[in-house]
């Protein structure tokens, strides 16, 4: 009797198919892992930490209706999604930029709350008028402060956009071709 050999079943339409070109295959695999495995990192500063605090401590986030893996990272070096909430002062922004530069490629940013998105009620000489002055932002979550549900909804929207390739991901140029070389 020969042992039955079960192939793993992945329930997703866009499983990377076998192709003759290794470059296409790697690209597809990479894309699949991008939307299937979310690695967010939370940088929360002031009053907005109300809604984010529990998510940050929870380790894993469940997105309703999606069968994906979303694990909160303790350091930005292991993350590819930066979730920023709170008042971004001009004294803080160089450090935030540092955090952003340490992240994995490709990377996305979610801005949470009125302050991070556009300066908010505290807009003054000491405040950055929105995160987009520092780096590209993909999803803006409104609210002052936004609730936990709103932040998860923002994550869901980002995931959908990544899956549909609607997000212009900040990618390191020709990383794949370098890996192949």
């Amino acid at each position: 009797m020969s042992a039955r050999f079960n192939l793993p079943i992945i329930k997703h339409e866009r499983v990377p198919a076998l192709t003759l070109s290794s470059e296409t295959f790697l690209e597809q695999l990479r894309h699949w892992s991008n939307f299937q495995y979310l690695l967010p990192y939370f940088a929360q500063f002031s009053c907005c930490s109300y809604g984010m605090e529990n998510l940050y401590r929870s380790g894993e986030i469940e997105i309703a209706g999606k069968n994906i893996f979303c694990s909160v990272q303790p350091v930005s070096r292991q993350a590819d999604i930066l979730i920023v909430g709170g008042v971004i002062s001009k004294k803080l922004s160089p450090y935030l930029l540092e955090v952003y530069q340490e992240m994995l490629f490709p990377r996305w940013v979610i801005s949470v709350g009125a302050c991070a998105s556009a300066g908010g009620p505290f807009k003054s000489y000491a405040i950055e008028a929105g995160l987009s002055a520092l780096f590209p932002v993909d999803v803006y979550v409104p609210g002052c402060p936004p609730t936990e549900k709103a932040i998860i909804e923002g994550l869901r929207i980002l995931q959908k956009r990544v899956e549909d390739r609607q997000c212009s991901a900040v990618t390191e140029p020709d990383m794949i071709s370098r890996a192949l070389r």
Binding site: F45, C47, G51, N54, S89, K91, L92, F122, S124, Y125
Partner: protein, 550 residues
């Protein structure tokens, strides 16, 4: 919960020559004198002169000193006129905690104080000529405040020890932050380490500086609660309570009994939330998962109860001048009492769990705050009570129903991180006691004073007379969860008779919390302690850095 304003106030006017002598005399007269605040303000009367008038007043700024004698609760105010180009003596030799306040006065207004530091406290270091953001155009030739976009100082990211032969060169440097202390706000802790122990520590604040005091200049007083709630976000209801209490003491309004009772319950719940943040942070740092779960649950539950009260927003602006915005739902006391009962049981079990947990004890019986040091720095609230000083203004002033309620003030002995943790847990228990007693006896009736607007309009004429040279001012102070919260406002002089509160305009807004002094004290407490305990100590003080930076 409120103190200061209804007690005796002594005011002094002085000048730069006599300041040190006066402060020295006061210090010897009152052995337990605390420095609460120093702030600067411009001489607005001079500013209001029409264009072309060259006889500028001889006084450009005022430096205001605020002291409190903790024996008699007497307030002592000193006001000193300062000229733009003259140096002012520093009182940091007499009161060590004056140093940060004076640095702030220099940074914001450019008042030359004779203390040794010229580093920035709140704003980032800038290359080139300094500009002082709080100054009006009076001394500047350019239009508007000369501020940003600026170039970063290159030495900003460089460790301090690159200077040749600096003593720091022999120590190892360790930097924590700025994205630590998550709900409390960003802060940077720089340490010089030798072996295991910290030789010297520095705390860099100002990462959430948002210039609130400048922003509110010229604005209507109606905007204050919106900002204060967000500023004291660890216990948001204290922000709105402070602003409501400010105007109630200004206009001598008595609020209905029902509102008093509900306010007490709300404020005590807020206090629990603030303590939960500190405990959550501590248990997370020291890997105590069981207590962490309890604290997370408690804070989530408090949030849930508040969301129900304030109809879906965390910052519901529940407490308003004259009483409450809306009444509590009928089911609220039942839900709240069930929560109180459950949390009480959990706290008892967590306390006994920690008491027998050797790993916890070994890590946290460190970083003691000496009560002499604490009082010299003006640290108040639970942090000083953990060092054995019995100072709670709820017990001494007895506002609202606090005189009829049975509760204790827990005291620590050594003031270590462990003591501060236990004090917070014990205070949660006492708050639960207060809530259960209040909710049982909330009287029926109104939640807002009747004829509030008529009452205010009537008193407005007496408090704010039509006089272009008179600058009305008022000061209020409440006992928050982490020491006092202070608010002082100088109003714009009136040209016309005003009757509504929304017509009141702010000239100078000053807000300070007890955390400012605790943050100043923290580096001293850390010296000669193991560097692993630094983060836990920072969390155990539970400083709200949003309030520190404003």
């Amino acid at each position: 919960m409120s103190f200061g304003t209804q007690y005796k106030t002594a005011s002094y006017q002085t000048d730069t020559k006599n300041l040190l002598g006066l402060v020295q005399k006061l210090k010897s007269e009152f052995p337990h004198l605390l420095l609460l605040d120093i702030f600067a303000r411009e001489n607005y009367r001079g500013h209001a002169l029409p264009e072309g008038v060259s006889n500028r007043p001889t006084i450009d700024f005022f430096l205001e000193y605020r002291f409190l004698d903790i024996d008699s609760l007497e307030n002592i105010n000193i006001s000193m006129g300062v000229q733009n180009d003259r140096y002012v003596p520093s009182i940091a030799g007499l009161f060590v905690n004056a140093s940060w306040c004076e640095r702030e006065a220099y940074e914001m207004y450019g008042i030359g104080l004779q203390n040794e530091t010229r580093t920035n406290l709140l704003t980032p270091p800038v290359v080139g000529e300094r500009s002082f953001p709080f100054r009006r155009d009076k001394f500047e030739d350019v239009d508007g405040p000369a501020w940003g976009p600026f170039q970063m100082d290159k030495s900003f990211f460089r460790p301090r020890s690159v200077e040749k032969n600096a003593p720091e060169n022999f120590y190892m440097g360790k930097i924590l932050g700025p994205i630590i202390a998550c709900p409390n706000g960003p802060v940077r802790l720089l340490m010089d380490i030798e072996g295991e122990s910290i030789k010297k520590a520095y705390l860099e604040v100002g990462f959430s500086h948002r210039a609130l005091e400048k922003k509110l200049e010229g604005k209507s007083v109606n905007e204050i609660p919106l900002y204060l709630e967000r500023l004291s976000h660890l216990a948001p209801h204290y922000g709105s309570y402070l602003s409501a209490f400010f105007f109630e003491t200004l206009f001598h309004i008595t609020i209905p009994e029902r509102a008093q009772g509900i306010r007490m319950a709300i404020l005590e719940m807020s206090r629990i939330m603030s303590h939960c943040v500190a405990l959550e942070n501590l248990f997370y740092t020291y890997d105590q998962h069981l207590p962490l779960t309890v604290m997370k649950w408690a804070r989530a539950k408090c949030c849930e109860l508040f969301l129900e009260l304030s109809e879906g927003n965390y910052f519901g602006d529940l407490i308003i001048v004259g009483g409450l915005k809306r009444d509590i739902p009928r089911t609220f006391p039942i839900k709240c009492l069930a929560f109180v009962h459950e949390l009480n049981n959990h706290i008892v079990s967590v306390a006994s769990y920690l008491h027998h947990n050797q790993a916890w004890l070994a890590h946290t019986q460190l970083v003691p705050l000496d009560h002499h040091l604490g009082l010299r720095y003006g640290v108040l609230g639970p942090n000083i009570r953990a060092s054995g000083i019995n100072l709670d203004f709820r017990k001494r002033i007895k506002p609202y129903f606090y005189s009829e309620i049975d509760f204790d003030i827990p005291l620590g002995v050594t003031g270590t991180t462990h003591d501060r943790t236990l004090i917070r847990m014990e205070e949660i228990k006492q708050s639960l006691r207060i809530i259960s007693q209040v909710l049982d006896h909330v009287p029926e009736g109104d939640i807002l004073s009747r004829n509030l607007n008529a009452e205010i309009a009537q008193k407005m004429a007496a408090v704010f007379p039509v006089d272009e040279t008179f600058i009305p001012r008022h000061r209020a102070m409440v006992e928050g969860p982490e020491g006092p919260l202070m608010l002082e406002i100088y109003f714009q002089p009136n040209r016309l008779l005003i009757t509504a509160m929304s017509d009141l305009k702010i000239e100078r807004f000053r807000f300070l919390s007890g955390g400012f002094m605790a943050a100043q004290c923290l580096p001293n407490v850390l010296s000669d302690q193991p560097h692993e305990s630094a983060l836990g100590a920072l969390y155990s003080f539970n400083i709200n850095f949003a309030e520190v930076d404003r």
